[in-house]
């Protein structure tokens, strides 16, 4: 089965080519079958590989396809690596990807760009699979930039709308900033290790001492790439804007898979990070700051997708916190559970938006519980999962992260708990305002309300089940579990394990859990009293907000600040370079040399005055002079 791994990315690629070239003439049903079928095939293969990997002792298999780039000593094969980490990601990508494909056949059924949508989606899956399958950094980079392209295409899917196009462009450019860091990191890896294949690099890295400046530089550069792709401070602003794309895209790309690429990359390079404690510290601090920062913004947003977007940024911050404190398994665990519940929440939001006829403002919703029973129930389960309600998947992954954070640094832990409290508040705020209370929309909308078709509800149900039980593969020992995931991923993180010693006693761990649960409970109660008991509603657009509220509502004016500090000066400088330096200086010098010669010539030509006698005189004098100089 593992020998067939090349089929996993190949199937979506074939799907993309067929749909892309001929999709226009196909019926929507056929497109759906090709699109979903190719992903389902890939999922089946991934499943097979997953179990084969569990069953065998050899945990890291490289499959060479062909030699891609060679130049002198640099040789980069196009090859895939199968190990527990990549096989887990394969499952997440193809599994969640398939469900979202299925959902899209219902969600996008009225769109004229149906075939285009599926073509892009398949292309995205292809690149995402390359990203996690590659056996060296450059293949990862191929997938990395490829998913960026698909993200660009899908955010700007409705290309007639300028705002959507701007969001797409912003996403691509911000990602490119990160990509430059990543690329330079790869080059530095090559220069340092003479190879960029994981195997060679990690083997050699073991011989480096902890805190080696080169490793610190490499890991920081790689982290810049992760900041762009996984929307961390300060490169996060593209992700909320990216919600301009169709909702399944937000669920698949901007929640479940693509944005977790940064976590995958760092988890993959765990040995390098472990040897660079300073970078780990940076990762943890950036992660926790992002988590907190995005959570505060999430508190005041009124767009259902914006809330989820900021929540995604915040949860990604959580994952980086986990990586930064050395909890690699915890980070990957959270990637998985987050993929389930965040995809579920986005798809649920999509179902709501679908029912509301495109309305996304939660101030116009309310009381949707009775109109959309399935959506309501699944959304509630997703919410419980994300806030870490005991027993739900998010509980276990969050708990693991917080425990490691506590062990590493109490301040990080405190900020993490604070974030968790905010997450609970804004998620329940979202849930209450959307599903509880009375309907606040127009009559037309109320009339239009309906539960979504089966193709949309089935993925919701499956994801809801996964969100509930997904945590059971990582039940910590203190609760009597075996933590299957930890064992499964052990071969990947083995070399970094010397830093991951577990100091915490069982009592402390249980205490931390209790603190987390009680904080969640308090926050939940507060949200309940505010939005259900007191029926408080968010202020309408026209109302003047209190300064702090306004600051948060306006997202700290970060976009405006970037525009003033970066975009506008860049344009101004470019304009200056063009008009002043290029035209007025350099070109003027070039033209000036021409003019100077012309002017001098106009003076010199006067010597030719037409007087033959003068010419002859000059000639004779010259001859005499030449003779003198040569003869004397």
């Amino acid at each position: 089965m593992i020998k067939l791994v090349y089929l996993i990315p190949l199937l979506p690629l074939i799907g993309f080519v067929i749909i892309g070239l001929f999709g226009k003439t196909f019926s929507k049903g056929l497109i759906g079958i090709i699109g979903c079928g190719s992903i389902l095939g890939a999922f089946a293969l991934s499943l097979g590989i997953f179990f084969e990997l569990i069953g065998q002792t050899e945990k890291s298999i490289t499959i060479d396809l062909f030699s891609w780039i060679t130049a002198g000593k640099l040789s980069i094969p196009f090859s895939f690596l199968i190990d527990p980490l990549s096989s887990l990601f394969l499952l997440i990508i193809t599994g969640v990807g398939f469900l979202i494909h299925l959902y899209s056949t219902g969600y996008m059924s009225h769109d004229e760009g149906f075939y285009r949508f599926f073509a892009y989606l398949n292309l995205f899956i292809f690149f995402m699979l390359l990203l996690v399958l590659g056996s060296n950094y450059l293949i990862m980079f191929v997938g990395w930039e490829g998913v960026g392209l698909c993200s660009y295409l899908l955010i700007g899917f409705w290309f007639k709308n300028t705002a959507y196009n701007n969001a797409a462009k912003k996403a691509f450019i911000m990602n490119r900033i990160g990509d430059l860091g990543f690329l330079l990191g790869i080059i530095l890896i090559y220069v340092t290790f003479g190879s960029i294949s994981y195997h060679d690099v990690f083997m050699q890295a073991k011989n480096f001492s902890t805190g080696n400046p080169v490793l610190t530089a490499i890991t920081l550069l790689l982290f810049v790439g992760a900041m762009g792709k996984s929307a961390q401070l300060p490169l996060y602003t593209w992700l909320p804007d990216a919600m301009a794309g169709p909702t399944p895209v937000s669920a698949l790309i901007h929640a479940a898979t693509m944005v977790t690429a940064g976590i995958y990359m760092i988890a993959r390079s765990n040995i390098l990070y472990t040897l660079a404690p300073f970078s780990m510290e940076v990762v943890a601090v950036v992660g926790v700051c992002t988590a907190l920062f995005a959570a505060t913004i999430g508190l005041a947003q009124n767009d259902i997708k914006k809330v989820l977007a900021y929540s995604t940024v915040s949860q990604l911050g959580y994952m980086f916190l986990a990586l930064g404190v050395g909890a690699y398994t915890g980070a990957v665990f959270h990637v998985m559970t987050h993929a389930f519940f965040k995809a579920l929440l986005f798809l649920g939001a999509g179902s709501v938006i679908h029912a509301m006829g495109g309305e996304q403002d939660i101030r116009s919703m309310g009381g949707l519980k009775k109109y959309l029973p399935i959506t309501h129930l699944t959304f509630l389960l997703g919410t419980l999962a994300i806030v870490g309600f005991p027993g739900f998947s998010g509980f276990f992954s969050k708990d693991e992260i917080l425990a490691h954070a506590y062990e590493h640094n109490k301040v990080l832990w405190f900020l993490g708990i604070l974030t968790a409290a905010m997450t609970t508040f804004y998620m329940f705020r979202l849930y209450f305002l959307t599903f509880k209370g009375d309907f606040r929309g127009t009559h037309d909308q109320e009339h239009h309300l309906h539960e979504s078709p089966k193709s949309m509800t089935i993925p919701l149900i499956v994801l809801a089940i996964l969100s509930v039980i997904g945590g059971f593969i990582g039940i910590p020992k203190v609760l009597g579990g075996t933590h299957f995931l930890d064992h499964f991923l052990k071969p990947v993180f083995e070399d970094s394990s010397f830093r991951m010693v577990h100091h915490l006693s069982e009592g402390t761990e249980l205490m931390l859990m209790a603190v987390a649960i009680s904080v969640m409970g308090i926050s939940l109660y507060y949200a309940f009293t505010t939005y259900v008991k007191n029926k408080t509603l968010p202020a309408p657009e026209s109302e003047e907000l209190k300064p702090i509220h306004k600051l948060v509502y306006k997202k700290y004016w970060i976009d405006e600040i970037y525009s003033t500090v970066i975009t506008k000066p860049l344009n101004f400088i470019s304009e200056g370079l063009y008009k002043v330096i290029d035209n007025e200086l350099i070109d003027a010098i070039v033209n000036g040399i021409g003019s100077l010669i012309k002017w001098k010539s106009s003076k010199i030509r006067l010597i030719q005055n037409g007087n033959i006698g003068f010419y002859i005189f000059v000639m004779v004098i010259s001859i005499v002079l030449i003779l003198f100089t040569r003869l004397i």
């Binding site: 006067l606 030719q608 037409g610 033959i612 006698g613 005189f617 004779v620």
Partner: protein, 105 residues
């Protein structure tokens, strides 16, 4: 001893120099195109004289070959030059070279 070698070589040198100088000065200071032309011929012939003299004294016939070349060139020059002069004269009613100052700048 040929007829040429009756006269010492120095005398030829001196005569040639005098003739050549007259030619140069004529070209420099006269304004009539015909006279300038004649002065040029004088310079050429001064050189010819010298060539013949040396050729004879050194018993080398190459010098005389050169003389023939120069005579041919001079003849061609006269043919072309006088034709141009004729045209100039017809158009300007003058053979003064200072009239010919239109070819400038």
């Amino acid at each position: 001893m040929s007829a040429i070698e009756v006269v010492p070589l120095n005398w030829y040198l001196m005569l040639s120099t005098i003739l050549f100088t007259i030619g140069v000065l004529g070209v420099l200071f006269r304004r009539n195109a015909i006279i300038i032309f004649m002065s040029i011929e004088l310079m050429l012939n001064a050189v010819n004289l010298l060539l013949v003299a040396f050729s004879s004294y050194l018993s080398d016939s190459k010098g005389q070959v050169f003389v023939f070349f120069i005579m041919a060139v001079a003849a061609a020059e006269v043919a072309v030059g006088l034709a141009i002069l004729m045209m100039v004269y017809r158009n300007t009613k003058s053979s003064d070279i200072n009239v010919l100052n239109k070819l400038k700048w």
